[in-house]
């Protein structure tokens, strides 16, 4: 193999040779540069391959003497990975900047080439003064590249950068010379052996070296100059700084950390944590895209520093974790910077323009999800490993800091993404497509997916992940140009086939949920046939959600579970934000989901602690602070069931979603949270639960959620929001049922799970279909639709009867079980609340029938048609389910009872044919249902016969009252019908929770707004920051 020293020959030779290229031959210069970078890449790449295949690392000696007497370089595995990465991104960056470099002339081309070459040597060198020289090369080259596309701002940024790096490298030089004085060597390995940190002066020399490298990494808060350069320079250069330079500098830090000794680990981690959290909080107020990316880069480097600081804890896993985060950052940040250069919009609000070319939106989404650490990207697996190990070793405060910082990053990145997806884009100038700029972006996006896949294969837990659903999603994404009819068919067939292949592997508990997810999914997809055109983007994201759901069910280990959980979150987020006005709700959904996911992550980490396995069974025997662990798991799952306090995303998200999406996210998605809670409660020991306070608290939370959800539903004028609030209430029941931790409670809970799935799907599908016809959500704008849509009317009527829990329909089963369970448990107060909220439920359910279907038909609805047949098919299939369940409850409840009996064998129902017995009474489902349905039919028939001759009054026939209404809706009997109740109950409807979350958000934003003023823009202040940073670290680390 060719010696890596020839990187210098190629790089410098190329740069010097560029002097001969005539000024006119601009293309030749740029091509020569690209060829040189490619050649360096081939050289390092061949080393990478060789080293992976077992070649040994090579020391490169210069001048024919061995170190420490001459400078040596090292090409080991890490070096080969990183130099290849630098050359790769350098090549892509060169292609991206092709035109800019060409226009700037041969000199600029030389600078770029030397910049890349310098980074290579910085990575490889093992001599500290040589490191200094090549760092200077890199920073001078950077200062030159900043002004590549010159503007007043970029020159300012460049000057500040020069000033700051000048001071930093001066300090580094001081440190180096004193290190030489104490140790007599400049070789990094020699310095490691000399252990100069033990001397008083030596420790200061070491501090100066370490701190200057840390400062070069633009650590918060002495990094104003770094942010300026990200903002002020060409986006292509920003990409290089963030991807290539940061990567190389990070490796330098890790090299020097070896030298500094393990005492420094802690301090590097601490500085990293401060940088990660600080930078991400300050970014909250930032609205300029490139500067925002700068903040994010600094944050990511902080995270990497934490990893480096914990390298002893992470042990052999360190490279895996560090490379996972590093490569996600490297690809994603380069991609985002490049996108910023293509889109050419400073203000993140104007990024809505990216939507004009949907594939760019996809690229942006890829990068943002990769940065935050969603699957299937490498950062997901790395973060998982990191949190698991840190929790395992009891470093909880660090985990909290990491997750808090990540959360902040998610806030601003998703806000940005939200603007891109939903912002107003009509008046923004569209951007041009230049192929040399798009190519690199596409390549890094693909690279993210590929590296993600390979990262997952590295660990046993990751290798167990089933990628088939995800590949299916990818396939349907590629077929996105096809019409709805074809894609829908493919999706349905695919899901059905998948369900068919996996159901034999599932136990009964999982089968129940999988059936809800998959059969429910297929039924709601059928409604999709009603849509015309291609419906771009719908199928990939819907299937992504289902892929996540099925992964949760199938999960054999906690990593798989979390993988599925995040996929499901991502998919549902995209589904939700498809609605017209759903963006703000989409954002809050995502943030609650991310927060919940982090709670889960921490809980799963505690489960891992001490058990050393990722098998799903570990949550059955958590031994490390189990109260916290189970509590965190439950809180995490409660974000998906929208328990009170964590619910504010739900009404908007479900209410504003598309007609066939609402049932998916309401009837189906919420059950994922329930599944998680069930798993957790089983883990807590079922009947032998050792943590009584948790279910007790959970029970109260469920009861209060049920009450407030139902109460809020009463005051809604919007039909879909009404149903959404109703879901919150219903989930409250479910949570309460499971919290009772008894056979009957669980059976009630399960019966509600099945029921809620059935009727909420019916109601959302029907109301959604009606909305599609009448083009409004507001109930007072509807009325009398029974004449136009009798089938829809029937469906809603059956649905609300099932929901309200009165006999004869299936809802009654749940209610009956509940009251039995409450009596048995003795939770009378909670029971009373439940009973009360059941009453409240009638007050809104009635309105669904009355205001939409009864009363006067509006003029503009004279000609509406019955809802689409494609909605009617799933609706009536589900109705059939409700009827079967109602008439033969034992068919459902007996199997469910068997499932529950695994953990709660006591207090079972006893069955005698179709009659269920508890110690409080009995219930014969079939008999009751048949009797009541018969009576109902008789009464209806009688009524129809007797009212044949009734006189019909038109809506505006107001001769009787003699008044002319000023606003037509006030004539609607259902308009503001509960004003009286509202007068009495308004206290309970104050959105206290929402206010509290707003306060939290305002507090963080205000803090960011104040603190970021330290970045005054004055280069002089930045120098003061740097010196202060050195002083503070000195006093903290070495002491006075």
């Amino acid at each position: 193999m060719i010696s890596p020293i020839h990187i210098l020959t190629i790089g410098l030779g190329g740069a010097f040779a560029l002097g001969f290229v005539p000024k006119k031959a601009k293309d030749a210069a740029a091509v020569l540069m690209l060829a040189a970078i490619a050649l360096m890449g081939v050289l390092t790449g061949s080393w990478l391959i060789g080293l992976i295949n077992g070649e040994s690392a090579q020391q490169i000696f210069t001048a024919g003497f061995k170190p420490p007497f001459s400078i040596n370089l090292l090409m080991g595995l890490n070096e080969s990975v990183l130099t290849t990465a630098v050359n790769f991104i350098g090549l892509l960056g060169g292609i991206y900047l092709y035109r800019n470099l060409k226009e700037a002339g041969n000199h600029a081309v030389m600078v770029f080439l030397i910049f890349i070459m310098g980074l290579n040597v910085v990575i490889m060198t093992r001599d500290i003064f040589n490191l200094f020289v090549f760092l200077e090369i890199v920073s001078i080259a950077t200062a030159g590249l900043v002004i590549l596309t010159e503007s007043g701002k970029s020159i300012q940024a460049g000057f500040k950068y020069m000033l700051a790096t000048g001071i930093i490298s001066g300090v580094l030089l001081l440190g180096i010379i004193f290190a030489y004085y104490y140790s007599g060597t400049l070789n990094i390995d020699g310095l490691t052996a000399a252990n100069i940190g033990a001397l008083k002066g030596g420790s200061v020399a070491l501090l100066l070296i370490m701190v200057s490298i840390i400062l070069e990494l633009k650590s918060f808060p002495a990094n104003g100059w770094g942010l300026d350069i990200y903002e002020g320079s060409n986006a292509g250069i920003g990409a290089m700084l963030s991807a290539a330079t940061a990567t190389a500098m990070y490796f330098v830090l890790s090299k020097l950390l070896e030298m500094a000794g393990s005492e420094w680990n802690y301090w590097v981690a601490l500085i990293g944590a401060v940088s990660f959290v600080g930078s991400n909080v300050l970014a909250l107020k930032q609205r300029i895209a490139k500067r925002l990316l700068g903040y994010s880069s600094i944050g990511q480097i902080g995270l990497l520093m934490i990893i480096l600081g914990f390298k002893d804890v992470l042990g052999d896993n360190t490279p895996y974790v560090a490379f996972g985060i590093l490569f996600s950052h490297y690809f994603a940040k380069a991609g985002l910077f490049w996108l910023a250069g293509i889109v050419k919009q400073n203000d993140i609000a104007n990024w809505a323009v990216i939507r004009k070319k949907p594939y760019f939106l996809f690229l942006m989404g890829t990068f943002i999800f990769a940065l935050i650490g969603f699957p299937p990207f490498p950062s997901f697996f790395a973060k998982w490993e990191l949190v698991m190990e840190l929790v395992n070793t009891g470093n909880l405060p660090w985990v909290v800091a990491i997750l808090f910082g990540s959360m902040m990053e998610a806030v601003y990145l998703f806000r940005w993404f939200g603007y891109a997806i939903k912002g107003e884009n009509e008046n923004i100038e569209d951007f041009k497509i230049e192929w040399n700029k798009i190519l690199p972006v596409g390549i890094v996006a693909i690279a993210l997916y590929v590296t993600g896949y390979f990262t997952s294969q590295h660990t046993d837990a990751g290798a167990a992940i089933n990628w088939i659903p995800l590949f299916f999603v990818a396939a349907i994404f590629i077929l996105d140009f096809l019409p709805v009819f074809i894609k829908n068919t493919i999706a349905i067939i695919g899901m059905a086939f998948y369900f068919y292949t996996i159901y034999p592997d599932l136990d009964n508990l999982r089968l129940v949920f999988e059936a809800i997810f998959m059969i429910g999914g297929i039924l709601t997809l059928i409604a999709g046939y009603a849509y015309k055109g291609t419906r771009p983007g719908f199928y990939p994201v819907a299937l992504l959600m289902y892929a996540g759901l099925t992964t949760i069910i199938e999960a054999q280990n906690t990593l798989q579970f979390f993988f599925g959980w995040e996929l499901m979150t991502a998919g549902s987020y995209f589904l939700i934000i498809r609605g017209k006005r759903s963006m703000p709700h989409g954002l809050s959904y995502m943030l609650f989901s991310v927060g919940g996911a982090y709670a889960l992550l921490m809980g799963l980490g505690m489960a891992f602690a001490g058990q050393g396995s990722y098998d799903m069974s570990i949550i059955n025997s958590i031994s490390y602070i189990p109260y916290w662990a189970y509590g965190l798991l439950i809180v995490g799952f409660l974000t998906k069931t929208a328990a009170l306090g964590l619910h504010i995303w739900l009404p908007g998200a479900h209410g504003e979603a598309e007609s066939d999406v609402s049932p998916m996210v309401s009837a189906i998605l919420l059950k994922a949270g329930v599944f998680g809670i069930v798993l957790t409660l089983i883990g807590m020991g079922g009947e032998n639960n050792a943590y009584p306070w948790l279910p007790y608290a959970l029970g109260w939370l469920g009861a209060i959620t049920a009450f407030s959800g139902n109460l809020m539903a009463v005051f809604q004028e919007d039909a879909k929001r009404l149903l959404a609030y109703s879901s919150i209430g219903q989930l409250g029941y479910i949570v309460l049922g499971f919290a009772m931790m008894s056979h009957l409670g669980w059976l009630g809970g399960f019966s509600y799970v099945v029921n809620h799935f059935l009727y909420k799907a019916v109601l959302f599908l029907t109301i959604g279909a009606v909305v599609l016809r009448v083009k409004t959500h507001n109930m007072y704008e509807m009325g009398g639709l029974i004449k136009r849509m009798p089938l829809a009317f029937t469906a809603v009527m059956i649905g609300i009867i099932a929901l309200s829990g009165v006999p004869p329909l299936s809802g009654f089963a749940g209610k009956w079980l509940f009251y039995n369970a409450i009596l048995e448990k003795g939770w009378y107060l909670q029971g009373a609340i439940m009973f009360f909220s059941g009453g409240i439920a009638f007050m809104y359910l009635w309105r669904l029938i009355h205001t939409i279907f009864l009363g006067q038909l509006k003029d503009n609805h004279r000609n509406v048609k019955e809802i689409s047949i494609w909605f009617l098919i799933p609706i009536y299939t589900l109705l059939a389910g409700i009827m079967v369940y109602s008439v033969k409850p034992q068919w459902v409840l007996q199997p469910l009872g068997d499932i529950v009996a695994q953990w709660f064998p006591d207090g079972q129902l006893t069955w005698d044919g179709g009659t269920a017995f508890t110690k409080y009474g009995h219930w014969a489902g079939t008999a009751v249902a048949v009797t009541i349905i018969a009576a109902f039919l008789v009464v209806t028939a009688l009524l129809m016969i007797s009212t044949r001759k009734a006189h019909k009054v038109k809506q505006f026939d107001i001769t009787y009252s003699g008044e002319r209404p000023e606003r037509p809706e006030t004539t609607h009997v259902a308009y503001n019908v509960f004003e009286g109740l509202y007068q009495a109950m308004w206290v309970a409807t104050i959105p206290l929770v929402e206010k509290w979350w707003n306060k939290v958000s305002d507090f963080l934003h205000d803090t960011a707004g104040i603190v970021r003023r330290i970045y005054s823009g004055n280069g002089q202040s930045y120098v003061i920051h740097i010196v202060l940073f050195i002083i503070v670290t000195y006093f903290v680390i070495i002491g006075g």
């Binding site: 210098l8 410098l12 000696f61 210069t62 420490p68 030159g144 030489y180 004085y181």
Partner: protein
């Protein structure tokens, strides 16, 4: 107010640096590394009379290569940074005496520069110093003949050629299997003579040419900006 703050910060910074200062006791002898350089066997191996030159050109040759690159980089950056300036010149007349003196001096100074870097391995001085001296001859040329067409193309080519030769010599050592930048690619000669120390004088000469060319380029850029309007 701000000055008070800075004073305070500097005071604190002094307390950071103080341990370095207080633990400095002067050097009583050479470090292990420099003892190695000063050992008889290695002096013979490199065969350079000036040990600093030996260190600069061979032992730490990679630094020097980097350093030359930095000047090259600076020249390139300044060239594309300041290129938007037009190249008009002011017409200034210098006295004939000055011009004649310059005509005499310029070759002498250039010769001096060349002498300095060729003898870098024998006497104090070398590529950087010689290069700087050559650059000062160029300045004199600017001053004496402000209107003369300064052939910066020549200097750019000189820069490239000497750079390429430098890199080539360095790589040649690696290709021969001796090591990057090894001076033993040329015969070592007799200690203390001009043709000694292997490739050191050759390399240092090209460093000198390169540095001279680079500095001249930088100066020319600044000067042509100055002559604008």
């Amino acid at each position: 107010m701000k000055k008070l703050l800075v004073l305070f910060i500097l005071a604190a910074f002094v307390s950071v640096l103080y341990p370095l200062y207080s633990s400095f006791h002067g050097s009583t002898g050479l470090t292990e590394v420099s003892q190695f350089y000063a050992s008889k066997e290695n002096i013979e191996k490199v065969n350079s009379q000036n040990l600093v030159t030996a260190v600069v050109v061979t032992y730490r040759g990679l630094d020097t290569l980097g350093e030359v690159t930095i000047l090259f980089l600076t020249a390139a950056i300044i060239a594309f940074f300041l290129k938007k300036e037009s190249d008009k010149r002011t017409l200034r007349k210098n006295s004939e005496i000055f011009k004649t003196a310059a005509k005499l001096l310029i070759p002498i100074i250039t010769m001096l520069g060349i002498y300095i870097f060729i003898n870098g391995h024998l006497t104090p001085g070398g590529g950087f110093q010689g290069g700087a001296v050559i650059a000062s001859a160029v300045i004199l040329m600017f001053l004496a003949f402000p209107n003369m067409e300064f052939s910066h193309k020549f200097f750019e080519s000189l820069e490239s050629v000497s750079g390429l030769v430098y890199v080539g010599l360095a790589a040649f050592g690696a290709i021969l299997g001796l090591g990057f930048l090894d001076n033993a690619i040329l015969p070592l000669g007799k200690f203390g003579e001009l043709f000694s120390a292997g490739a050191i004088p050759v390399i240092y000469s090209f460093v000198g040419l390169k540095v001279g060319a680079e500095l001249s380029n930088i100066l020319h850029k600044f000067k042509s900006v100055q002559a604008d309007n």
